[in-house]
Amino acid sequence: MGFKNSIAWYYFSSPKNFYALAGKLIPWFWVLAIGLIGVGLYMSFFVAPTDYKQGESYRIIFIHVPAAWMSMFIYLVMAAYAIIGLAWKVRMADMMASALAPTGAMFTFLALWTGAFWGKPTWGTYWVWDARLTSELILLFLYIGFISLQSAIDDPRRAAKASGLLAIVGVINLPIIYFSVKWWNTLHQGASVSPTMAPKMASIMLTTMLIMAIGFWMYTIAVVLMRARRIVLERERQTGWVRELLLGEGK
């Protein structure tokens, strides 16, 4: 409870303050996102060296891996918001969770799609029922489940609670995806980036991937804030400040 009482949190957990602040921040995140992704793409195609084994097709890694990371991170963040929303009844947290889901689903799809695209030249097939691939597919289902459950329930508060619970239950899938390559011998490559061991990859590749990942993050924040603002307006439409705001804009 101490956590809810801390002033800063309390201030921004109010939808009204959030709405104003997010409005100011969004342009900055867009700038950062476009800049970083631009640099990242430039580095992936023109700076990073050609791979001696896979040739040029490996360059897809610069999208695939950050997208795969994002798909899991976003889920984790979403579940964290869901916990906050359920445990401390912070409405803003519920709204953030629902705002994150579509972007998470998008990155999951991107990881699957780039992976499949890459699988053709390297493994000779688009798809194998390998543990990591399957669990990533499951993650996509979880996102879709979250979104559909939310849209199937009319009462927004009940919808937020139900889908929040689902998000929390689904967290169980994340370690399965992450460790699948370690636990089972699979076709898919193991983790090459980890805090404990020195990077095996050329440092230029690592840097590029990190830049892309941060760029994706900035993009995510920008999009999610925009979506959250829309959700705030919809769910708080009967409150005074939203009415005033809409009337003001209507003029």
Binding site: D154, D155, R237, Q238
Partner: protein, 208 residues
Amino acid sequence: MLEVRDLECVRGDHRLFSGLSFCLQEGELLYLRGSNGSGKTSLLRTLCGLLEPAEGEVLWRGQDIRRQRDEFNAELTYLGHLNGVKGELTAFENLRLNCALAGSAVSPQTIYEALERIGLGGREDLPTQVLSQGQKRRVALARLLLSRATLWVLDEPFTALDVGAVEQLAGLIEAHLQKGGMAVFTTHQLVEIGAGAVQEVNLDRVAA
């Protein structure tokens, strides 16, 4: 003992009522009034802890009911629009299992007596789904005869009952209050219940 502080209830986009406060003591009856759709059912469900209040709190013996669910539930009996009676089971089985689920052992004898008293003698062993509307309601009411709860929350308990049954139930509520119980109920029918202290809350008059 049952205290409601500054309660607000919102369903969908509608705020049904807000700033509702009252306090119910032992032996007191609360008669909830209001036209169709004014939020009576919603309020009763909130009192039982089935609905979460949008604002405000419901206290039982001074503590929020949602923090002491099991203790509160042990002292509560709720009768809603739905009977909560399984159509496949006989009236007797329904009651026996209800008691067991509440963790209390009740002898078959007692259950048969309760059914007899509530006017279901001779029908104890029919699956309740073939009973008439009013007979089904009586099976649900028989729970009150067996209940040892302090607080009764009754949502239109007189629906579907014939004149005799209505009087019997009114008597039952009176006896419960005399033993120091509390009851909250709502009905659209005209029913006389003699009680020491009757409070009335009219939801049509509470601010939305």
